[in-house]
């Protein structure tokens, strides 16, 4: 079991969460947090159960770090990271997460998830043509950076190496871009926005149904099954739609037919039909529906979280499970003033 010191906001917090769930001893130094997409209560209940939490003056960070095997530091800029003095700490594995990394001309640029998503190529392809690009809400950026930080720190521990790891949230996004840059480099095509339409594979779009929305994704091998799902078998012999290139040419006509076919069908019926036809379709679920979802419940996905006042919440556990182990309840502890590990 490693001793982890966590200093920072939501990326460090998610990284520490991974360590805490894996059974390591995580100590989090609490501090003023940047703006979040949910309340600070919700952020803490999600990120910090199972951790020791304490307040500590920055002058004490070096002492705290000396007691840890891994320190995860997240800072607003490279300058802010260096101001903490991490390079002098004696911790074997030090992971520093910043928006742009510790070097380079923009190392001290200020950033938020939305500005990083813009630079990282995501915003340009989310939303409608001719309208403002849509910034992906939530903490995708920080959580992905956290997974790289967790990977690097565990890699170092696995190899028995001491090291300092520099994680750039911006580069994390660039590394996870779909095929945006190679499409330009190889085919000279610049990706842009097409609403919810995955432009190159038709039909792949979001359609209104009787009580919500459904996304279908029709890679060519699923075309016949998709026609069966839509209860429009005639589509398979319609000369406008016999291959993906033709379906791209006649996209609007096909979308109109699908919208008409699904408009009066309920989400429940769409799910029944998509399973029967074995086609990829997903209905838009609300958070209440996700929390009540029978599949997630049956798989034991949820974790019971208790706060320091004894109230209980349902939280997603880790995104992975080893050997089918049951998810254990965890507690969000009170913040301590104690500064010793």
């Amino acid at each position: 079991m490693d001793r982890i010191l966590e200093i920072g906001a939501y990326s460090a917090g998610f990284c520490g969460r991974l360590f805490a769930h894996a059974g390591h001893a995580v100590t989090r130094v609490e501090s003023t947090q940047p703006p979040a997409w949910a309340s600070q209560d919700a952020m803490s209940l999600f990120l910090h159960p199972g951790k020791r939490r304490l307040y500590a003056d920055p002058s004490r960070f070096g002492d705290l770090a000396a007691e840890a095997d891994i320190v995860i530091v997240e800072a607003e800029t490279a300058e802010a990271a260096y101001a903490l003095g991490f390079e002098h700490w004696t911790t074997p594995v030090k992971v520093v997460i910043t928006p742009f990394g510790l070097t380079g001309p923009k190392r001290n640029w200020r950033a938020t998830p939305s500005t990083l998503l813009a630079m990282g190529g995501y915003s340009q392809i989310i939303g409608d043509a001719g309208r403002a690009p849509l910034s992906l809400p939530g903490h995708y950026v920080e959580f992905q950076g956290a997974q790289f930080a967790y990977t690097a720190a565990n890699g170092c521990r696995f190899a028995g190496e001491s090291n300092t790891v520099d994680i750039s949230l911006y580069e994390s996004l660039l590394a996870l871009s779909q095929f945006t840059t190679v499409m330009w480099s190889c085919a000279q095509r610049v990706r842009s926005r097409h609403g919810s339409d995955f432009y190159w594979v038709v039909p792949s779009n979001l359609f209104a149904c009787a009580d919500g929305w459904v996304y279908i994704n029709t890679v060519p091998t699923f075309w016949d099954a998709m026609a069966a799902f839509l209860e429009l078998p005639e589509l398979t012999i319609d000369p406008r739609f016999t291959d993906n290139d033709l379906r791209m040419q006649h996209r609007d006509a096909l979308h109109a037919l699908i919208a008409n076919a699904l408009g009066a069908v309920s989400k429940a019926e769409i799910r029944r039909r998509s399973v029967a036809a074995r086609i990829p379709a997903g209905v838009v679920l609300t958070f209440d529906e996700v929390l009540a979802d029978e599949h997630l419940a049956e798989r034991g996905f949820w974790q019971r979280i208790e706060d320091s006042d004894g109230r209980h919440y349902t939280s997603p556990s880790l995104g992975f499970c080893i050997d089918g182990r049951a998810r254990k309840p965890m507690t969000l502890r009170k913040i301590e003033a104690d500064e010793s590990l």
Binding site: L102, F143, A175, T180, V290, F301, C321
Partner: protein
């Protein structure tokens, strides 16, 4: 052994993954030094004669003499790997695979939940050959539960996570990311799971089965909202606004004349200091003393003033101007913008590793001992079909040539 140095050097991975999430995971692992051997069907990269252009085009812009090796989207995810083309549906191919499993550390696949058991290659079979094996399986909805057999792709799993409640212009205009967002989440989650299992194996000496579903990986990323829903009830899409920042949004900039729908800047006024910096730029129509609640109340008017300013300047200059005043801001980047961006260039993020010096996204993990100078390009299909068997199973060149002749292994797709 891998020629890439890194903390995972010596970890042998049999990679049966395809499309995006799985290959992304193994690319990350290979960047850290793991020896990744792609186990591919002879037709796994397509026919010997191309039927259609791949979605991201061909490396070098044309299919070339070996089109199956030039699919840009595939190549982007396969650096540092070796490739063995093996027919798992033939008994001899299956036996060879099980021989490789016996000396591997990891098997990773992202087939449907049915696929590996249907080939009698499920975890129980593999772990019987190697008790230290870590098996990573990543089906869309997992290997149990009512949805286990549902067909899943990233874009159809996304709405099932609840993200559709928040992503959109308004309640009436939900949107899908249309970029298979669950795949990169699943890819990095698989890597986290594998590293966790590797560390556990150090303690127990035993392998294990790491299971993740794209669905649960995605739901986890929505964790704060799922708890907020229990604390305070209904959440709604913010469009490009933010619950704790104002102004916050996308603002149109002066056209660069490129017709790419990308003359926009993202601005996020993250604190009072940033607002004061922005207010000095926007002039008398705004008050630098407005606090967050006042800025939220006046958001529409502030947005209008801000866009009046941004329309007079191109997105790169706008971002720099705002950054100079302490405001988080960035241009909305297209692919050419991303490749020309100075920060990425300074840190040599894109690596011209593949043929025609095609730049490929690099590794966001920077630490001493890791260098892209070690990297090798995407291997041709089956390029290591014989050498992996020589090295891992101590087979002779004569034996592997016989396997090639019998089409148990391959070095190119069948004609």
């Amino acid at each position: 052994m891998s020629v890439v140095n890194g903390p995972l050097k010596g970890v042998r991975i049999l990679d049966l993954t395809h499309v995006w999430a799985g290959p992304l995971a193994t690319r990350i692992l290979s960047d850290l030094g793991a020896e990744v051997v792609k186990v591919e069907r002879a037709l796994g990269r397509g026919l010997s004669m191309p039927v259609t252009e791949p979605i991201a085009g061909w490396i070098g812009g044309e299919p070339g003499a070996e089109p199956w090796n030039n699919n840009a989207a595939f190549v982007k995810l396969a650096r540092n790997a070796q490739s063995i083309s093996l027919d798992l549906k033939q008994q001899q191919g299956r036996d060879l695979f099980l021989g490789l499993v016996a000396v591997a550390d990891v098997v990773i696949e992202n087939f449907s939940a049915r696929a590996m058991p249907a080939m009698d290659l499920g975890y129980e079979v593999l772990s019987a050959r190697n008790s230290r094996l870590i098996y990573v399986t990543m089906p869309g909805y997992g290997t149990s539960g009512p949805y286990q057999d549902w067909v899943a792709f990233g874009p159809t799993v996304e709405p099932m996570t609840g993200l559709g409640q928040m992503l959109g212009y308004s309640d009436e205009e939900p949107r899908n990311s249309a970029m298979a967002l669950m795949d990169p989440i699943g890819g990095t989650t698989a890597v986290s799971g594998l590293l966790t299992a590797l560390r556990e194996r150090e303690q127990t000496g035993k392998g294990g089965c790491v299971e993740l579903s794209l669905h649960e990986s995605g739901v986890t990323f929505n964790g704060p909202w799922l708890i907020e829903q229990q604390l305070r009830g209904e959440l709604r899409p913010y469009g490009n606004a933010h619950p704790e920042m104002a102004p916050h949004g996308m603002y149109r900039c002066r056209s660069r004349g490129l017709d790419d729908d990308a003359d926009w800047i993202a601005v996020a006024c993250q604190d009072q200091q940033a607002w004061q910096g922005l207010a000095t730029l926007l002039g008398d129509e705004v008050d630098p003393d407005w606090d967050l609640s006042e800025r939220v109340a006046r958001a529409e008017a502030i947005d209008a003033v801000l866009e009046t300013w941004s329309l007079g300047i191109d997105k790169d200059a706008a971002a720099q101007t705002l950054q100079d005043r302490g405001v988080a801001a960035a241009p909305v980047a297209t692919a050419p913008d991303m490749l020309a961006e100075t920060q990425a260039q300074a840190r040599e993020f894109f690596v011209p590793l593949e043929r025609f010096a095609t730049p490929i996204p690099g590794n966001p993990i920077h630490m001493s001992g890791l260098s892209h100078a070690d990297w090798t390009p995407c291997p041709p299909l089956g390029a290591h079909s014989q050498s992996v068997l020589h090295k891992w199973l101590d087979m002779s060149p004569q034996e592997t040539q016989q396997l090639l002749d019998a089409k148990i292994i391959a070095e190119r797709p069948p004609d």
